[in-house]
């Protein structure tokens, strides 16, 4: 039967319909990518260095596409999550250490998301001790009691708020020739702050949870090998969305904050980048965007962590199971949400430090994830004709090596900063 199906080439409308049916995993992952950490880093990069870091976003996006395409392809071809594949091909020890690293990294990321929640609602004068527990409870209920599909759609529509940045950028009337030039001209400074920011940009854009989450989402959608090219379009579109949003945030901040010499200390100041669009309502708009981004990620990160750990350990998992059937799954999810929220409420909490820790652990994990992914994607038994091609491998390994070098540097300097501060 399948061969017969393949011979029929779908018409254009059928193609569009097919694309819409498989669309989602790539776009959603990309939207979550612009989370609290992302918005913060992009804003800081624009405010502090103007357009100097803009050029890095292009190569980073290419690397992101390469990595995410590989994860989607493995999901489609094998029908298994990355956790399953790692467990089945590399055994218990490898899986255990990756699980530990992923839990720590995602816990740190979740803390950062709740910090984003606190910061955004403070703009509306809601103190953190009210906003954070309420939002944590809301996230918990939303994921456990709400319908997944509906929740995803709400978040996706809400992430349209990011359009505010491109519009604000246009209204700020930057010199477009200059912008275009800055987007493609590599500049390099050797001072520590510049390098640290560059690595921060890379680290926040390509994070390990994205590969795990996206592959799981592709598997859950039961996308067929026939539909692989539509999934690829989904992935590439998602990465381009990430690029446009990141680009606009950096540029908008460069055109406003950097030009006026304002360095970002508070969320209110970061919001000034939206002033050309929203005027005195800029901080509200910014707060909405940050709140949505933080909430979305605060829901998805703990969930995907719980999925990864329980699936690879062989415990029952999934929201369709009862609490008693899938204890480990529900406790992990609940634990990460509760701890993530509780840490933000600790008095005199070094939030910047926590963000740093989360970036370091992400950075430490990423090279391993990339290497394991590359080994899996080249496994003929697993991937058959869909294994990596020669030149794809060249690009992918280059990406991996660059990422490993950068993250090694990030980890080294991060650890140094942690020790010295």
């Amino acid at each position: 039967m399948p061969p017969e199906k393949r011979q029929v080439r779908p018409g254009r409308w059928r193609q569009v319909a097919l694309f819409l049916a498989v669309m989602g995993p790539g776009l959603i992952t990309a939207s979550v990518d612009n989370d609290a950490g992302g918005i913060t880093t992009y804003s800081l990069a624009g405010a502090q260095f103007g357009t100097k870091l803009l050029w890095t976003l292009g190569p980073v996006t290419v690397a992101l596409i390469v990595v995410q395409e590989m994860s989607a392809r493995m999901g489609v071809v094998t029908g298994k999550g990355l956790g399953d594949l790692i467990r089945e091909n590399f055994g218990v020890r490898t899986t255990f250490w990756i699980s530990v690293a992923l839990v720590v990294a995602n816990l740190a990321n979740t803390i950062a998301e709740f910090a984003g929640v606190a910061a955004s609602l403070q703009i509306f004068h809601v103190p953190p001790w009210i906003s954070v527990p309420l939002v944590a409870l809301g996230v918990w209920l939303l994921v456990l009691k709400g319908s997944n599909r509906v929740v995803e759609k709400v978040f996706l529509v809400a992430s349209l708020l990011y359009v505010a940045y491109p519009i604000s950028l246009v209204l700020a009337k930057p010199d477009w020739g200059e912008v275009a030039l800055a987007a493609v001209t590599p500049t390099f400074q050797t001072d520590g702050a510049y390098v640290a920011m560059l690595i921060g940009l890379v680290g926040t854009t390509i994070a390990p949870w994205m590969q795990f989450y996206q592959q799981a989402a592709v598997v859950e959608k039961r996308i067929d090998v026939d539909e692989l090219r539509y999934t690829r379009i989904d992935v590439v579109m998602g990465c381009i969305v990430t690029y446009v949003v990141a680009f606009s945030i950096v540029m908008a901040c460069a055109a406003t904050l950097h030009r006026q010499g304002i360095s970002i200390q508070t969320a209110d100041q970061a919001a000034l980048a939206l002033a050309p669009l929203a005027g005195r309502y800029a901080s509200w708009l910014f707060a909405f965007g940050l709140f949505n981004a933080s909430l979305f990620a605060a829901a998805i990160l703990p969930l995907s962590t719980a999925y990864f750990v329980t699936e690879s350990a062989g415990w029952e998992s999934g929201l369709d199971k009862k609490w008693g059937e899938a204890k480990q799954f529900y406790w992990l999810f609940t634990g990460i949400v509760v701890v993530g929220a509780a840490v933000v409420l600790l008095p005199r909490l070094p939030l910047i430090r926590i963000m740093l820790v989360s970036q370091i652990v992400n950075g430490m994990l990423l090279p391993f994830v990339l290497i394991y992914m590359l080994r899996l994607a080249n496994d003929e038994k697993l991937m058959g004709v869909h294994r990596n091609g020669r030149w794809f491998n060249a690009v992918a390994w280059t990406t991996a090596v660059v990422m490993i070098t950068l993250t090694a540097y990030l980890v080294a300097t991060g650890v140094r900063d942690l020790v010295t501060t």
Partner: protein
């Protein structure tokens, strides 16, 4: 590991303890390390047939019969040489480390999917047989190489901990590997084992598997079990699975399914495939299903089954009982029986009415009650649900525009629709 005493008749070994063990010649000269074990898959407790040995970066094999002792290292009998691994795969052989360890298998007793953390062998009479699979936490700890310290710490604080005393070992006989072939001898046993699962459990297991495993498992089911399982899965998945088996088998499965479920599954298939499957099905079943396909899947017509008990008014209570018994196999849920005269629905009797009838020779006319509600074939799910709820019906009769009875929607299908939409 305890040295093997001559008096001991048997002992248990874990895969974790064996794997990576040094393989030495009878004189004790190192020959490599144990990389995997190959078992014959046909038997209830598969015996290990050969070892895979890694030596100088290459894989070799040694028959298990050449093993003299396993005691901290694997000692081979004098004159044993490493043999090259045959290039063509031998049928009915299981590479335990590669195909079973860390993979998902079906736990038949628990009716769920589990992941294999370790394998438990019984060594007796010079043979090593797979006895159990370990799916517990302790197996994971053992794989990490932490069993001793973790056991020590746990027994210090809670000597009665479940962790220490409750080994999560499943008998090999009660598990089903998915990705590896069951072995020719075991095909029938596999079918039987899978058929012993409740269709709803089997359906859930199938939902949890990845696409490849799902298709492999589904192909192993006999037609009846496959049909039962498909009735319990989502329509989307049923469609996917039907496409995974040869068309003739798909047609057989569809015939076995309740017509309304079969129509649902077919409705999602591409047109040409659907037509060819309908043609391959037996005539009466195909006609029923084809008729149901005309309706919108979420209308009363799409949900209804044509399998109902229809009796003339002059039939007796005894006739009614006989009719129910005769058709018990094919009927889904049966409670209300419908009295039809000249194509028109005249009334109904419930099983309760029949049981309570004073005399089995009474005609149905004398005990018949009015049908409290019927729905038209184009009615929506919520209309059907409302009728069932308001009049306490287990099955709601569906009529066409001329009032003739087309089928009934049973309450289980209504529930599935209502819960699914929530």
């Amino acid at each position: 590991m305890q040295p093997l005493q001559p008096s001991e008749k048997f002992r248990f070994l874990y895969f974790t303890d064996l794997i990576g063990m040094k393989v030495v010649s009878s004189e004790g000269a190192p020959m490599g390390r144990l990389a995997d074990l190959v078992a014959v898959s046909g038997e209830p407790y598969p015996p290990v047939e050969s070892l895979v040995v890694r030596s100088a970066g290459k894989l070799w094999q040694v028959p298990w019969s050449s093993v003299e002792s396993v005691n901290g290292s694997v000692r081979l009998t004098p004159g044993t040489a490493l043999e090259p691994i045959p290039s063509a795969p031998v049928p009915d052989r299981l590479h335990l480390g590669q195909e079973i360890l860390d993979r998902q298998i079906v736990d038949i007793e628990g009716a769920k999917l589990v992941r294999v953390n370790d394998l438990h062998f019984l060594e007796t009479k010079g043979q090593l047989r797979v006895a159990h699979v370990d799916v517990g936490l302790r197996g994971l700890v053992r794989r990490m190489g932490w069993q001793r310290p973790v056991d020590g710490v746990v027994s210090m604080f809670r000597p009665a901990a479940r962790y220490l005393n409750d080994e999560a070992l499943l008998s090999w006989k009660l598990v089903q590997p998915i990705e590896s072939a069951p072995g020719r001898v075991r095909v029938e046993a596999t079918k039987k084992a899978l058929a012993s699962l409740h269709p709803a459990d089997l359906a859930e297991i199938i939902e949890d598997l990845d696409r490849h495993q799902r298709e492999v498992l589904f192909q192993r089911l006999d037609v009846g079990t496959a049909a039962d399982a498909l009735e319990e899965t989502s329509t989307e998945l049923a469609t996917e699975l039907l496409e995974a088996v040869p068309p003739e088998k798909a047609a057989d499965i569809l015939e076995e399914m309740a017509p309304d479920e079969a129509a649902d599954a077919l409705s999602e298939l591409p047109g040409p495939t659907r037509e060819s499957l309908l043609r391959a099905m037996e005539r009466p079943e195909a006609a029923e299903v084809a008729e149901l396909l005309e309706y919108h899947p979420r209308s009363a017509g799409g949900l209804m089954t044509p399998d109902l008990v229809e009796l003339p008014p002059e039939a007796t209570v005894a006739d009614a009982f006989a009719e129910v018994r005769r058709r018990a196999e094919e009927l889904p849920l049966v409670y209300e029986l419908f009295i039809v005269e000249g194509g028109q629905l005249k009334g109904m009797v419930t099983l309760k009415d029949l049981v309570l009838a004073v005399d089995t020779s009474l005609t149905l006319t004398s005990i018949l009650r009015e049908v409290p509600a019927t729905v038209r074939d184009d009615a929506s799910v919520s209309d059907v649900a409302r009728a069932a709820s308001k009049y306490n019906l287990l099955s709601v009769p569906v009529v066409d525009e001329f009032g003739s009875l087309k089928g009934m929607v049973t309450v289980d299908d209504i529930l599935a629709e209502v819960i699914g939409a929530a």
